[in-house]
Point group: C2
Chain length 149, copies 2
């Protein structure tokens, strides 16, 4: 049995988050002791891990609660749960792909900055390189176009 603090430490969540989740009904197996203190068994800690996974992959709390309740209803809800989880997985995959594109962009940007710092600046007078440069949103080589104060 673990306290809030321990459960938080094990799962890598904050104590605030752990209390928040339990109070929202996301952790079915949490009990209270005689002093009204939340007690987490291994089952509860597993739920916290699962909740963390779902949440960090983009599922909102309310959806997680729906899922948890379906689990509590027993085997008859397995088809619904399967569909729900599959949909979520695909949404998460889509986000992952977008994240990769963003990272690629950030890589370009850092590479460009690095080139400047190493005095290997691209030739801004050569039109052939302009598209690359402009692709970086102009903020490195071009002053903000239209005025400011």
């Amino acid at each position: 049995m673990h306290t809030v603090k321990e459960a938080a430490h094990i799962t890598g969540l904050t104590e605030h988050a752990v209390r928040f989740y339990t109070d929202k009904g996301l952790v079915p197996s949490v009990r209270r002791d005689k002093n009204n203190v939340r007690m987490f068994d291994e089952e509860a800690v597993n739920w916290l891990h699962g909740i963390k996974c779902l949440k960090q992959s983009g599922m909102p709390i309310e959806a997680i609660r729906t899922y948890v309740e379906l689990c509590l209803e027993g085997d008859s809800t397995i088809p619904q749960r399967a569909a729900l989880m599959k949909a979520h997985k695909e949404a998460a995959l889509a986000k992952l792909e977008e994240a990769k594109r963003h990272i690629a962009h950030l890589e370009q940007k850092t590479a460009l900055y690095q080139a400047i710092l190493e005095h290997r600046m691209p030739d801004t007078t050569n039109p052939a390189t302009w598209s690359d440069i402009r692709h970086m949103h102009s903020d490195v080589f071009y002053a903000p176009v239209a005025g400011r104060a």
Copy 2:
């Protein structure tokens, strides 16, 4: 020149978000016409793309604003910008890795559900498979352990 609506459509942001960003000073090159209407040139649209990239990769608005202001200050801030961007890129990469782990977990979960739906249920009486099964947080094969109503 584009209106808010057009800029939103081009960048895939909502109109609300576009107004929000401009009002927060994240888009330097936005002007107003005689009717006080926001006008976005290509430069501004590029900024919006960049902001979207930074934001979706986890940079908070305030940090983006700091970055934008450094850009406006000219070449002398390039070292700071380079450092800032590199740090952000690495943070984003770390998140990407975590996201991949979450996705792997979701893959397992959907696969397990799929197996059940296809009546290829793992042998829950065979201790050799238990760790895999329990790894799914028990919510598929095990009723929630400690009571409920």
